[in-house]
Structure formats: structure tokens, C-alpha cells
Subunit: 373 residues, 4 copies
């Protein structure tokens, strides 16, 4: 009824932006996996406000505290609970907005859903801050997947009206993805970095914000993962991707572009190369009939511009029942796209790992885990 | 592990294209609802091959047989099983293709998933024919939703390179949607119908196929439906929409377009009108924070061109382990987009009804049902 | 919301006793498993009315029709739908009882649950007849488990006031279980058969009915199956066992008897024998902390006497709102315990197989399946 | 995959006995419900070691810290996380037992399940301590149910060979249940208290332990709750009850006793009294066909004697692969039955509330909640 995702690998996310703590319970981990906490920290830093050149100055330390599920740096196999204590929050920043419904936010829809009883400070449970525990869980899932040779990486395909070079979908290398993971603004065409920063800077100066598109690839997944009709790879991925705040579109392979192709262009022709089955193009994004075909899984995610802008907007005062104006103050990123990248990758890792466990069993990862210790 | 969808309103779809029968078990219906079977038949005819001007001539009668769950034209409240017996199938058409992996299809991914044991005749469980039971279940869900004032309708937003007028997302009327449901090629700009048919005709002549985009609206849903983080309306809808064969993209409101907007353009400003809370624009597609805001839910679905084309394509012979050529014979639509429209609408009805039951309870629909008898 | 069981191996049961057909959709089967349909028929005959010496004469052929999921006698891996068409039903037998609520039945509770719209003929979806598809699904699961060396068997521990010899819980052999499966009235002490039949005969003559207890053993399951806290073996088994009509109690190992033991008696001491870890006693029924310990899983199920009796009983006329008398006519078994045995075994197979798939993965059974063809 | 229970009202339990903290995330609460934390504390004290006359002296403060989901003493409707920090644990007590498998415990089965990586200190995630968060969640569910007139109460039906007076199942009053809740050793026949304490004292002196049976009643549930076939009330309750450590049997109404009744004795006759539909007896424990019939729900739970006993027992040394002897030291209750009572009641509240939400909707409780503020 809300904040639990997964069928076999389950995460249960909790917390409100200005409450005592946020966190996640992860159920369905293999036992005996040695966790690389430094790697998890790096992922969480990628998501953190303040880690980008342009980013908001809020002091969110995101120091994770593990309450259970880890013993001697290894997973116990029983539920892992990780929490992040909330600190240094200025509730006052939000108080004046209490009755002014912020456009683009869940203020109004959440008010109706929870009859006005939800904690609205800092957007409460709707806050982008809740993606921190998702990044934690996803970074852990990604480590386990990596032990099976599966790598996830992304580039920022566009911000506002500037576009990066897209992936060559049929030929994405591990090195390329690992390189992208190291960039603060991951791009294929390096000249885009400055352009993107320029757009974000302009938006900020204009008390406005900018959106963008992230393109993500997953390589190393063998053919045969996923099940028709409903437990297919696209359904699972889209389901968790649309749970990321600000996401308004998800497409696989050529996505919406495939709709203006002919069949002879869209179909990916198979061929043998050194005994391996490959496709010449990858317009289907590595998925046919909802099942992986061994080619890179490629998808794109549309991220809307930050809803919180300092520019004056029309809105309503819901308490007084009148039309009103609002300027959303506080420290908000003029563009959250770079910070969404690790959230998308973490979410993808969670969905893919859940599918893996359902099909290959938790035990198949535990054989692995015994060796890695 | 595959073909069951839903948390409270559950559908379990079964069958292979050339097996004895396909069908669906629907669990979680309110009791006492008087079913309009004529309406269900109309929906199924919309999906049927042969019902479109250009459509394939396969004789699929889609005569539904109800095995359980209906007594005296009313739902009993216990599981409803509906089956469609397969008739007049020419297996021979497919036999020669057995080892030639058809590009764009699930032949290869399915072969690996099921170790070669799945029924491949007519694409088996991957067949588009399996959308017939989904339309049945969705038409029934839509009837129940309609009794609460909720209407679903669509237009074909584009086929290949021709584009219809999009919805005026903040101002979609019931009359408009009902009118669209009556068109064989539902379009806002009536001149598009002939253009679309022309494109399809051309594709067919060239032994090729064409894709397109469907834009769907749901009106009449009050604010407050859906739950963060994961049981949100976008996640649920996208999950079932990506389960429709050939769908490669899903977007809400302005979708991918919103990524190139500024925040001040993307945010939908609230205002009061006659005591009702509305938004001036509807770029968010009626959903904020994953919860409905009372505005029309609007989403677009990208449908790839039919994978089965008569034109020669490169591929592999999986048995012999060599590269090969294939021409996919048989009776295939050069464009399935019009036939996908009722499948999208049915899928949306199923997802929305499932969310309704979880939030308002099955009993809330049973009060209703007692009155409608 | 009712008739679907399982997390990874899912069965969806449908149908009403006097409707067109009953059946089951089985989702989550491994592909390529060669089904022994004769064995399934035998199991279904064990459950069938008329197959016991004393049993009712209703003509229920239980001829199963497979609609999907089987191709060339092997599982395809996609959903298997099996239906049983209802024939030779005399609705008239039940019509007069329509408003007379039968004590012990779900007539009243079902009336409230479904607001009077459920199909009450022959108890509708509540009918014991609905256990036929469960036996079908369970017999199939049991075959797959048997290919891994897992055997399930039972004896009738008591009927009314006569008691059989209980299992020697720490020493149950495969031969013993297979022998029991061949008996019409499975008992450890063969002299019980006549006594049981005598009790049933007496009950019948007195227009009454008798209950009993079934004790079941599962051998061949390795240690380590099941997960604390909630996905434990006892929870899963009890959950499906309590879904069998007439079951009012479930206990594992010494069950309720363990409550009057001291800890030093109840604890099962471990010892090594030829490198194998065993316990001297098996008071815990092969399960510690919800996880199998490698010893036989042993549980007992209490079955109440058939609710339908010809003897006059006090009740109400729900339509007229007055107290009344009722004699339940029709062809009813004076004791259903022997017919419940295969239902219990089938249910246990379903629950155990579901746990197996979650832990070891569907693929682990598919390796197997490729060999068995 | 383990520690999550529920379909609509979900609890996710985490933690190990000697880890940093244990806790629970509760998802699916109505918003706006004013929580009575004093009442929750009382329930947790009932479960706490040291709260019974005979009880172990371990200092477990069970001070609950709320991390999310509560704002101004009311539920927000978003996930509530409550944690209990572990303090004053003497790991040393357990260290020597590391390789000596304790009979009756999950040491061996857990070792295999988790390949030896689970945290075994104080039984880790298998510890009875993990019932504390279940009591927290259940006490909250019980409060909400109480606002609808539903009351849960229990008496200790037996300890070892001494038996209390059973409930008069068809006539259980609210006052009786509330009175029982106030007793440290809840009994119907007050003379049992001393006898029970005597047995426990004897067991302790003999370095042994004693089991018992708890009988629980739920009153105030209207007819019509639950769904055949699998989502029935008995299946849901048994599923969570068998998740409580030490539970080896669950029965409803007359339970195993009904197996030695005739149908004419077992059937509960209906009658009208002041327009209300009642049954003369309640052998079916308020449930017919898996659905409530409006009579009290009555069930009994068998609790085995504490597995940890100081008496010497035969066992194995799993590391050395030899037979061995073990005495389980540490502070253990000679009888946990009284402390299990609040756990059973809490578990029942969780299962029942989950069924309520599925059937009546979370919104039906929110109307209520707005009034109670």
C-alpha cells in the first residue's frame, strides 16, 4: 500500500524529509556477501545535494547507520535496515507555504490522499530525499549484480534544449559505462558538460529550473531474463522508474522514435559472431517480448524541471479557498537531472535483481557469496 | 511469475495462440454487478483482426465463453473465468519458420527463457492474440468504473510520420472520449484517418509495416488516488502498458517533452473555479507525486511497427547455428496501432480499478452493484 | 482477493459447483517437464466421490481438459489452464434449501460476503468440488518435487473415536509413504480400515456424519528451506491447509501435544550418523525456526464431520426472518476424510514447491526438466 | 522473502537480538489516527521479559523510538518506522555455544539456510525479541480495530498438565476480554494462576521448561469478512500465528476436538434473537467457509516449552563434526506462554486489519480517523 517494492527482493522505504530519520528495510538479500561500503558511500554522494558544481547548499550528510542485516561486513541474509538521521533542517522555510499549494508538487494530491494529516514539512514522504535509501539499496543490489558481470551506467542525454550524443545501443562497453560513472555530469560528448552547466546557471539566475533526459544502459545480462505477460523486464523497470519523483516518461531502445520507423528499420537483425548471437541494431533496447535477448538493455527517462522555483507562480490558498500567488523559497537545485542519475541506476539494479532472484533463486547468489568472502 | 496482474483486482491470463483456448481468470470483482455483455463484445470487436478497413483476414471469432463468476448476468463476486476457443488456425504457415528467428519477435529470447519448450506456433503465449482476454477483463473493469463516472478514451496521435492533433489536456470532455470510442480510426483531426490508412496501405504494398503513438485520457477520477512511493498511478499504469506487445514507450502529460521545458512552463498552476480546484495546464497528466490531482489523466504509448513483415530480413538459423534470411509469411496487419487502442484502454481500466479497490475497498463497489440490479 | 495462492508458483482456482466448469490456472511452472497424466488421474480419482467403498454415488467424471501450457506432453513454462466441465448436476436437489441456511456451511457467511449474489447451487465456489483443480495442480507439483526425491504421504490418524497408529516421526520411509498412497483408506494399523468403515456406515445409517484427523509426512526435503519470520514452512503450509473446506486445525510434529511436555522432552536432540545430521525424536515435525532441518516434515490436519446431514437440524429461514428446521438432502458422503487425503497432499506439494522456487529459482527445475525428456 | 507480512496492511520486521536495533516498518495505515502510545507501551510491557512474577531478569527496556509516520501524535498515513535499540546484551553468554547446536532452536536449520553467515548471537533474527516490533504494530492495529468495536482477548488454556476453563465460545463478552487483558496470568478459573506459577517454578528448579496453550477470542467482527478460497480468515490468522516462535499448532473453534464429533454435534445451529442472527454453539469458531459469521472468532495456539534449558542435552558440535553435550546457559524464561499472549493478540490484530483494508478500503478507516482527532 505504498512504499514496498519487489516480489522476492523487497525494499520497504520509510521516512519524511523533516522527521527523525529516513531509511529502508531490504529483505531477500543473499547471506555472506561482503559489502563494499565505500562504494555505497560514493553512490550516495553522487545523489547528495551539494555534490554537484551548481548544487544546493543544504547540509545533508547522508551518514547511513546500519541497524541490522550486516555482521562482520557481510550480509546475514536476514533483513537489512539502514537509516539516515535528519539533521540541520530549517522547518521555518516551509511553514509559510503550508496553505499555498505549490504547482508541480504533490501538495494538493497528497492533501486529499491523506486528508491533510501527512507531514508536509520539506514535502514529507514525497521528498526527493527519500531517494537516498533507494540509492543505498540499489547500490548494494548493483554490487551483487556486478559480481555476476552486470554493469549499469548512464549519460545525461539532454538538459533543456541541449542534447548529448546518444549511446551506440548495440555496442556499449563496460569501460564506457565505468568511465561515465566517474563523471559529475556524465556525457558522451564532453563538450556538453559546460553547455549543461550553462543552462542550469541561466535557469537559476532566472529563478527558474530545467529538466532533462537520462539514458541508461545495463550490460552483461544474459538472454532469457523476464517473463511474459506482466512480469516482463520493461514493466518491472518502468514501474520502479516512475516511482522516482519528477519522472514523466520511460522508453526502451528507440522508444517513441520507433513509432515513426518502418518494420524493416525497427526490427533488429540477428547474426552469429564467434558463436555468439547478436543483433546488428538494438532498437528494441535488449528486450523482446519482455525478455532480455542478451544485448544491452537501454532505456531513457524523462525528468521534469524542478517544481520548486523562486519565480512567482499562480496557485491557490487551500485553507482560505482563494486564488493566490506563491514563490517557493528555500535551497533547491535548478536542475536535479545529474542527481537523478544514481537514483535511476539504483532503481534499475533493484528491479533487475528482483527478477534474477525470482528466476534463478536466492541460493544461486549465495554460492557466489561464499566464494567472495 | 508471469501472467498475473494486480494486487486486489487480479487477472490471470493464459493460453497460446494455437493451443485449445486462451482466457482469463478475474479475481476480486464486486458481486451483483450487472454485466453488459454487448458492450464487452463491442470492445473485443475493436481489437479483433479483420475489424479494421485494412486489417488481416484471419478468422478469429473471439466468441467468449464464461465458465464461472456470472449468475443471471450478474457477477457472483467469485472468480470469473472467460475463455476463447482457438479455431481455424493454420499451423503450417508457421512451421517453416521454426528455426529461423524472426527479428523483433520473442522467438530468441523466449527460446532461451523456456529452453526451447514453449509453444512457438503463432508466437504461442507471446501472441498478440493474448490481448483478447485482457480486453475482456478491462472492458468489465471499465464498466464498473463508468458506474462511478470514470471514462477512458484515446486517439491515435501518430502513425509513422503523420501526426494528429493532441488532446487539449486540461479540457477533455466525456463527449469527446465517447465519440472517439466510436471511430474505427479514432482521431481528433478527422483528416488524419485517410492519411493514416494511406500510410498503412503503402507499408503493406512494400511488404513492410508501420508503428504509431496512442494518446489516452481518463476523466472522472477524483483527486487522491494512488500512493507514494511505489504504488503510484504512473507505476501501475506503465507496468501494465509495457505488458502489451509492441509497446516501447510510456509517458504522462507532456512526458519527454517536459524535459525541454523550464519549471515555470512545466508547473501546472492551480486555480479555483466554482469551488472546484483545477489546473490551467495539465503538463503533469493529472498526476502529482504519483497521486491523481483531479485533472484528466493523460498518457501516450509508443507502439512499434509490426515485427512480422514479408520483406526479406537477415537473421539466424538457431538450429543450424548459421546466419540466414527470413520472410515472415502469414496474415499480419501492416499496422496494429488501431487494434492496440482498445487494449491500452482495457489495461488502463484494470490498473485503475485495482488501485481503487485497494484504497476504497471492494465493498464500496458492492453498494453500487446492489443498486444497479 | 481470494482464489489465488502462491508467490512464485501461483495457482488461480475458479468455478462454481453447478456452473459450466471449474478449473485452475497454474503460473510459474518450469518448462520442459514431461507430465505423467496417468498419475494425475490417479490422484484425482482418489479425491472423487464414488471412489471410496462407502462413498456417494454422484457421477463426477472429473475429466480434465488442458487448455494451455502443455505441448507434446511437456510443460511449456507458460500458464497451464486445466478445466473440468460440470455434468449431470441436479440443481433441483438444492433449490428447496435456498433460504434455509445450512448449519456448518458457508451459506450465511457467504450470503453476507457477496450480498446474496453468489451462486449458491451446490455450494457454488465454496463447494468441496473446487478441491479437484487443487488436486490437479498439486499432483503436478508433486511430480516435479518427486524428481528431486521428495515424497508426500498420509495416513488417516483417526475417524470419530477410533485412532490409527501414528507415524514414527523420526523414521518414516519412502516405501511406507508409497504403500499408503495405494490404499483406499490409508492406515498404519491395517485393522483400522474396517473400524473406520464401520463408523462411517453407522453415521450414514443415523443420517449423520463423522470427522477425523489426517497425518501427513513429507520426506526428502533438505535442511534449509523456508525463511523467518513470515515466509516460514509452517505458515505457508497452514495457510493452504486451512483453505481446504472442513479443516479446523493444523499442527506440526507433536503439535498440541507438545504443550504438555517439558522442554527436555520436547527438544529433538541432534546426532551424527554416517556423517548425516539427524534428530533422535521429531517432535518439531522437521521444522525449527520455520526452516526445515532435514528430518521428515510431519503435520496433522483436523477435518470436521460433513456439514450436510439428512438429520433434522434447527436453523433460520433467512428470507422470511424466522427460525426453521432443515434436513439437507442430496448425495453427501457421511465422512469426507479419506477424500480429503489427496487434497491435503496436493496442497502441501503446492506450498512446498512455491517455497522451493522462491529459494532455488525456477531455473533450477528446468535443468532437471531438460534431462527428464 | 521473509519478514514482510500482509497484502494491504504490511509490516516489515527487521533486526537481530544483539545487533544495533530491531524494529518494524508499517505500511498501509490510515492517516489522521490519534495513537494512544500509553496503550502500546502497556502491550509491550506485557511481552517484556521481567514483567512476569517468574520471569527472566534480562534488562530489555523496549523503549520504542518512532522514526517516521507520526506527526503530532497522529498517523500521517505514510510508512511508520519504529525501532528499539538493543542495550545491555552480554554476548559472552552465547559465545561458547557457537558450534554446539541447541536442540529445539533454529541453530542448525538457520545455519544451512544462511550458510553460516547469519548473526547467531542471542538467536539473531530468530530471537523471540523480534516479537517486540510485532507487538508494537499489532497494538496499533488493535487500536484502530477497537475504534470499530472489535476487541481481542485471551486466556491461558493450559500450562503443562493443568487446564483452565475454556471460553464459552458462543457467549464471550467484551467485559470478560478486557478483564483478561489486565491479568498478568490471564485465566478464566482464577485458581489456575497459582497452579500455573507452581508448574513454572518446578520446571525452573529442574533446569527444565514448560509449554502451554493459549485460547484467544475476537469479538465485534461483523459477518462477511474473508474470501474463499485462499484469502480466508483461518488461513490469514494461522499464517501469522505460525510465525510466532514456539507455536506448533493452531485450531479454530473446537479444532482437533471437532474431528471426534458427529455432524449433528459439530454443526452450529442458527437462530434469530431480537432480529440478530446467532448460533447456539460456536464449534466452528465464528468462521464458515473461511468467512466470519458474526459469532466470536475463537482459536487456540499450542506453544512448545522454551527450547533453552540449563539441563544437559545430547547434541552435535557442528564445527568438529562430532556428537556432544550442551547446557544452555543464560537468562531464559522457564515458560514463555504468558509472554506469548500479547504476541498472539497483536498478530491476530494485524491479520484481521489486513483483511479489513482489503475488503473495506483504507479510506473507510480514514473517515473514522478524521472524527477521532
Amino acid at each position: 500500500m505504498g512504499s514496498i517494492f519487489g516480489q522476492n527482493f523487497k525494499i520497504s522505504v520509510f521516512g519524511e524529509s523533516h522527521g527523525p530519520a529516513i531509511g529502508v528495510v531490504i529483505d531477500g538479500l543473499p547471506s555472506g556477501f561482503t559489502v563494499d561500503f565505500d562504494n555505497i558511500s560514493e553512490e550516495m554522494i553522487r545523489r547528495k545535494p551539494g555534490s554537484m558544481p551548481y548544487s544546493t547548499k543544504r547540509n545533508e550528510p547522508d551518514n547511513v547507520e546500519i541497524l541490522s542485516g550486516i555482521y562482520g561486513n557481510k550480509t546475514t541474509g536476514t533483513p537489512l535496515c539502514a537509516i539516515i538521521t535528519n539533521k540541520d533542517q530549517k522547518s521555518g522555510d516551509y511553514d509559510e507555504l503550508k496553505n499555498l499549494v505549490r504547482p508541480g508538487h504533490a501538495d494538493y494530491s497528497g492533501y486529499v490522499r491523506y486528508k491533510g494529516f501527512n507531514d508536509v514539512r520539506g514535502s514529507g514522504h514525497f521528498s526527493g530525499r527519500l531517494t537516498a535509501p533507494i540509492v543505498f539499496a540499489g547500490a548494494l543490489a548493483a554490487q551483487i549484480l556486478k559480481s555476476k558481470g552486470i554493469i549499469i551506467g548512464s549519460h545525461i542525454d539532454s538538459i533543456y534544449n541541449v542534447k548529448d550524443l546518444g549511446f551506440d545501443k548495440a555496442n556499449i562497453t563496460k569501460d564506457r559505462l565505468l568511465e561515465l560513472r566517474k563523471m559529475d555530469i556524465p556525457v558522451n560528448d564532453k563538450s556538453c558538460r559546460e553547455k549543461y552547466l550553462g543552462i542550469i546557471d541561466d535557469a537559476k539566475k532566472n529563478l527558474d529550473s530545467a529538466g532533462g533526459i537520462v539514458e541508461t544502459a545495463i550490460i552483461g545480462i544474459q538472454a532469457g531474463l523476464g517473463s511474459p505477460i506482466f512480469d516482463n523486464v520493461e514493466a518491472k523497470l518502468s514501474s520502479i522508474l516512475f516511482s522516482i519523483p519528477a519522472v514523466k516518461g520511460v522508453e526502451f531502445g528507440e522508444g517513441f522514435g520507433i513509432a515513426s520507423m518502418l518494420g524493416s528499420q525497427a526490427n533488429d537483425s540477428y547474426y552469429f559472431e564467434n558463436g555468439k548471437i547478436l543483433t546488428k541494431t538494438n532498437n528494441n533496447g535488449g528486450i523482446n517480448g519482455g525478455i532480455t535477448n542478451g544485448m544491452p538493455i537501454v532505456f531513457r527517462v524523462a525528468v521534469k524541471p524542478t517544481s520548486s522555483i523562486a519565480k512567482e507562480q499562480d496557485t491557490i490558498n487551500i485553507k482560505e479557498g482563494i486564488n493566490a500567488k506563491v514563490k517557493v523559497k528555500g535551497r533547491h537545485d535548478a536542475c536535479i537531472v545529474p542527481r537523478v542519475v544514481p537514483v535511476i541506476e539504483a532503481s534499475a539494479a533493484i528491479a533487475v535483481f528482483d527478477l534474477f532472484i525470482g528466476q534463478y533463486g536466492i541460493e544461486s547468489f549465495m554460492e557466489e557469496s561464499r566464494d567472495n568472502g
